[in-house]
């Protein structure tokens, strides 16, 4: 009854990675401990809160529930890769401008869930945003400012203009 180490390869934020890990190690822990990508947070550790959300092959997943074996060959996107070459992603800009982030624990997951939503639905309604982010819990903002941030980013990708559209 021992899980020997194995070598797994996948890409994270566009970079090829190879890790030597037990295959039942959680993707969350591999990202944080082996790859030192600490943007992804652990909240509940049981798939209920969404703080550890990352995208894997274009799907939103809770990285706390993914055995890293399942990431082999996958294309993974984490919050660490959102700001390309030092410029904040429009969602990040909107979260800053409209108060979508307070304590920050839920923020990486919120950003990834919002990224997922906008990738398949660039102009979501408020109801669609609520559903898209329903698996991500925030205990600070009351959610409304997060939803407004997503609307702002969706309506104006550069997020320069006023939000409060709905």
């Amino acid at each position: 009854m021992s899980g020997s180490q194995c070598t797994l390869r996948f890409t994270v934020n566009g970079e090829n990675c190879a890790v030597q890990v037990p295959p039942m190690k959680r993707l969350l822990d591999v990202l944080r401990e082996d790859l030192h990508l600490t943007g992804t947070k652990e909240g509940c550790g049981e798939g209920e809160c969404g703080s550890c959300s990352v995208r894997m092959d274009g799907e939103l997943v809770n990285s706390c529930l993914v055995p890293v074996l399942h990431a082999e060959g996958a294309n993974i996107q984490t919050v660490d890769g959102l700001a390309a070459s030092g410029t904040l992603h429009p969602l990040q800009q909107a979260f800053l401008k409209y108060g979508g982030a307070q304590c920050g624990i839920c923020t990486p997951g919120m950003l990834m869930a919002a990224t997922q939503l906008l990738s398949i639905n660039p102009h979501p309604t408020m109801a669609e945003i609520r559903e898209g982010l329903a698996g991500n819990l925030c205990r600070c903002t009351g959610f409304i400012r997060i939803f407004e941030s997503v609307i702002a980013a969706a309506h104006n990708p550069s997020a320069d203009q006023g939000a409060h559209a709905r």
């Binding site: 021992s2 037990p22 190690k25 959680r26 822990d29 798939g47 799907e59 529930l65 399942h70 869930a113």
Partner: protein, 292 residues
């Protein structure tokens, strides 16, 4: 993370035949894991009993949805996101599409599979009431061959099922004969997303000239496993839906239901709410409205 990744072996044979060989070679030794939305929770909490896991994730033979003239077949490895995106299911099995939309969150739906939902055997399983109301069959496969049984006979006790140790759930088959049925599905939980059912009720029915001629009722969290409500059905078939019928059907349901008190609700609340859901369905059946 209280679990220890080194304490568990996980292998990914990559194809169905290799998985079945593994299960046959050491019956009961290997625990299949698909999207991990159940087992990885236990793992993180340090209470995953299985020491050897065989991965079903990415096995193409398990991940399909096909719509034919007579029915829809759903591979056990289809995710709830797959179900939500399938036009055949949306058109022909709207209760199942609705149930799929209730499961956890988007991140859970992208990993959780139909097969996992059924084999896990939670009394509160979200897809089960709809599958029971649609008369689903399940197909079990092993190196000995495959067999089909009614889904209503799959669960045999709390977290127990009819599968032999060398068998795997291959697919769920749904007949397409519910186009003219009236239908109902409602889940009662703490909040809309992420909540596990306190109670859920599904129904399909035909009402002719005010009389119930055909009826299937199925519930989650009213018994040790998701199950049809045969006694309540029998109290309604052949009857016209009036206030006396509704009252007596409520009473039968209250005796047929065997819920428990647990962290999410009480037996008393579950019974009463289930009776209210039944009444809501019956009132809809009595009215002229279009199917829900």
């Amino acid at each position: 993370m209280r679990g220890n990744p080194d304490a568990h072996e996980i292998v990914a044979p990559g194809c169905l035949a290799a998985v079945l060989d593994l299960l046959t070679g050491a019956p009961g030794e290997w625990t299949p894991i698909a999207g991990g939305t159940e087992l990885m929770v236990a793992h993180a909490a340090g209470r995953l009993a299985a020491s050897r896991l065989v991965s079903l994730w990415g096995i193409r033979e398990l991940r399909f949805i096909t719509t034919g003239a007579k029915g829809i077949s759903i591979g056990a490895g289809a995710t709830f996101r797959d179900l939500r995106g399938d036009a055949g299911i949306a058109d022909h099995l709207p209760l199942l599409a609705k149930a799929a939309s209730w499961i956890g969150s988007i991140a859970n739906q992208s990993r959780a599979t139909v097969g996992g939902n059924l084999v896990n055997g939670s009394p509160a399983a979200d897809s089960s009431p709809a599958l029971l109301a649609y008369d689903a069959e399940v197909e079990l496969v092993s190196v000995r061959g495959s067999r089909r049984i009614p889904y209503s006979e799959f669960h045999t006790g709390y977290k127990r099922n009819a599968m032999a140790p060398d068998e795997l759930l291959l697919a769920v088959h749904l007949p397409l004969r519910f186009a003219r049925h009236r239908r109902y599905l409602r889940k009662v939980g703490t909040r809309r997303a992420m909540a596990i059912s306190k109670v859920a009720l599904a129904g399909t029915a035909i009402v002719e000239e005010g009389v119930v001629s055909e009826l299937r009722l199925a519930a989650a969290s009213l018994a040790p496993f998701p199950a049809r409500l045969y006694e309540t059905e029998a109290a309604l078939v052949g009857k016209s839906i009036d206030s006396r019928t509704i009252e007596s059907a409520r009473e039968v349901l209250l005796t047929e239901a065997r819920p428990i008190d647990d962290i999410r609700s009480t037996a008393e609340y579950r019974k009463r709410v289930a009776a209210n859901l039944l009444e809501e369905f019956l009132l809809e059946l009595r009215s002229e409205g279009s199917p829900k």
